[in-house]
């Protein structure tokens, strides 16, 4: 049976309201700070690798029941669907996505025009067909990156699972910076624990 808390031996709950409110405020400030930090680090810019991946996903979904219209519309906004005609399987996909899997690698180019390596497997009779490798060519225009061509794979460009570089990579400085933030956070946590009262049990 649980025992009631001895009222006389403990502080009244009214005394707890102020520290409680301070605590809630501190947590809220912490989360706002976290949100601001995340937003501040947001690049805001579109990566061509991400655009190519989204376009290829939409291309694959043009055979998928229920999302076909949306996929066609969104793919056309980035690049003509006719460019991807050779990527789509010849047979019926039974209402499912045309690609069983999809992977893109790191873009290479001069900044205005880049190539993004990709690898995918078509859905053929419900199973994965042979791997299709290629390069999505994108041009940076007024409305952002646009797909302008699909070309054969380029020597030296590959997707990560084939030994290529990942589409995006955190610089080593980010990990070092994170470690420094973590050290600072650990110090702050220690200070909060010490400030919150005496150890119990001692």
């Amino acid at each position: 049976m649980t025992a009631p808390v001895a009222a006389g031996a403990l502080e009244d709950d009214a005394d707890l309201r102020r520290p409680f409110r301070i605590g809630v405020l501190a947590v809220a400030i912490g989360f706002v700070f976290l949100g601001a930090l995340v937003a501040a680090f947001g690049s805001g810019a579109e990566r061509p690798e991400g655009v190519a991946e989204r376009w290829l996903t939409d291309v694959g979904d043009t055979t998928r029941k229920g999302v076909r219209d949306r996929a066609e519309r969104e793919a056309e906004e980035v690049g003509p669907l006719s460019l991807a005609a050779d990527l789509l399987p010849r047979g019926d996909t039974d209402g499912r996505a045309a690609f069983i899997d999809l992977e893109v690698g790191k873009a290479t180019g001069d900044g205005e025009s880049v190539g993004v390596p990709f690898r995918l497997h078509q859905r053929i009779d419900g199973s994965a067909g042979p791997a299709i490798d290629g390069t999505v060519v994108l041009v940076d225009g007024e409305d952002g990156w646009a797909v302008t061509a699909i070309e054969p794979p380029v020597e030296g460009m590959a997707v990560p699972s084939e030994g290529g570089d990942p589409a995006a990579e955190a610089p080593i400085g980010l990990f070092v910076g994170t470690l420094l933030v973590v050290v600072l956070l650990t110090v702050v946590c220690s200070a909060i624990v010490r400030a919150s009262g005496d150890p119990h049990p001692s």
Partner: protein, 446 residues
């Protein structure tokens, strides 16, 4: 220490109220048949309750394992996927308050309505027309699922005799893990390749309604609730929810709370995004993801058992430190390696250490506080501090790892960097956490 004073070391998911009154079941009144609870009834009750636990694990895992499919259905970015996790997971927080209604209206009606609410909103999830309708239905589903699970735990505590209570709670937890494995099995079987795609997984969530329709009339109100209502059992006054913030307990509450928060943010960030990462950044097929998950969760669950044994043998602090280091190291390897065999081993050991740490975290959340406030303390830790991980971990990974516009642009590196935020856990445990191995609860709280 009596058996009824023992803290429940079974890890209970965030959102589950644990501030129900201690299991103070009076001996049943032999003259009143409505208070008799034969073994056959307890087995039936457990059957219904394990279905709640099973679908708690099942439902949470659908979202994690079918993220790429859901993303392409709605045509949204990784950042949007991450952001939608905030309202979805807040459903577990709301569940805490819904479950507390069972103190007033009774366990049975709340359990039955929770099952109905969960199944209705899970079925509606299957007909979502955009990501925000999906998020709303999942939020509502989480509210009822969390409440259902919480009331299930309460009913076990109130109906099962002390000697069988821990096993019943353990069974509940095991079924939650089986729910995850079931999603893996269905993924491996290609359910997502049917014309219903990922929506078929949510339609399976209608199963509890069938169980309910079969057994609804045979489920009884708990003896404790009936006796309370009949005035035969005096209800101990519930301490205020602010009691754990009193000066005497505040340091331990802040300490244990921060340990839970800094563990849960990276943990839930990584579990929510691994399948997406494996498919989109490592070129895994859905069937390979399924195979990895089945093996990793099947074998990795041994981590729970080993953790329980290790904390009794070596102590809470060393066990937590070893599990914490193991979790960080193997999760980072998992999200960095390009070797599939190393990824398999890392996933297995990552699950073993990261999720297997649950029992020692549960011990921290309960043992440092006296019996009369243990429930309130556990509620604060799980429903406020730990829920931060459910809500913010997946969101931050999605925003920073967004392939188009994220600051990092890569889920693997984002999760790896986020795992470093578990380091304060190690420091706080090593520097401030008292060792409670072999100490009676009265001695600790004296």
């Amino acid at each position: 220490m009596t058996s009824t004073d023992e803290p429940t070391l079974v890890p209970i998911a965030a959102g589950v109220p644990t501030d129900f009154q201690g299991p103070s079941i009076a001996p049943p009144d032999d003259d009143d048949p409505s208070l008799q609870r034969p073994d056959s009834y307890l087995r039936l009750l457990l059957l219904l309750l394990v279905s709640a636990a099973f679908f708690e694990g099942y439902d949470s895992s659908i979202l994690a394992l079918l993220l790429p499919n859901i993303q392409s259905s709605f045509g949204v970015s990784e950042a949007t996927l991450g952001l939608t996790r905030i309202p979805i997971e807040l459903g577990l927080f709301v569940a805490f308050f819904v479950a507390r209604l069972s103190d007033r209206v009774g366990r049975r009606p709340m359990l039955l309505w929770s099952v109905v609410g969960y199944t209705v909103f899970t079925a509606l999830t299957a007909v979502s027309w955009d990501i925000w309708s999906f998020a709303f239905f999942q939020f509502a589903s989480r509210v009822f699922l969390g409440a259902e699970y919480a009331i299930g735990v309460t009913m076990i505590v109130e109906e099962f005799p002390a000697a069988r209570r821990a096993r019943a709670l353990g069974t509940l937890l095991t079924f939650a893990a089986l729910g995850t494995i079931a999603v893996g099995v269905l993924l491996g079987a290609g359910l997502q390749d049917t014309s219903l795609d990922w929506r078929a997984f949510y339609l399976i969530g209608l199963a509890p309604l069938l169980v309910l329709s079969l057994y609804r009339r045979r489920i009884k109100e708990t003896r404790r609730f009936l006796e309370l209502k009949a005035g035969r059992l005096a209800e101990a006054p519930k301490p205020s929810m602010l009691v754990p913030w009193r000066r005497r307990y505040r340091r331990n509450l802040v300490l244990v709370g921060m340990i839970h928060m800094f563990r849960s943010i990276p943990l839930f960030g990584s579990t929510a995004w691994w399948a997406f990462y494996a498919e989109r950044e490592r070129g895994f097929t859905a069937s390979k993801v399924a195979f990895y998950i089945i093996c990793a969760y099947g074998l990795g669950c041994v981590g729970y058992y080993v953790c329980g044994r290790a904390m009794e043998r070596f102590g809470r602090r060393p066990t937590a430190l070893v599990y914490g280091v193991g979790g960080i190291v193997f999760t980072i390897i998992l999200f960095q390696t390009t070797s599939e065999s190393l990824a398999f081993v890392s996933l297995l050991l990552g699950v073993f250490f990261s999720l297997g740490m649950g029992p020692v975290m549960s011990a921290f959340a309960t043992e440092l506080f006296p019996t009369e406030i243990r429930g309130q303390t556990a509620a604060w830790i799980r429903n406020v501090f730990e829920i931060a991980g459910y809500v913010f971990g997946p969101a931050v990974v999605g925003i920073l790892g967004d392939h188009e516009s994220g600051a990092i642009g890569n889920v693997g590196d984002t999760v790896s960097a986020m795992m470093l935020f578990s380091i304060p856990v190690l420091w706080l445990v090593w520097r401030y956490m008292p060792e409670t191995k072999g100490r009676e609860l009265e001695e600790i709280s004296a």
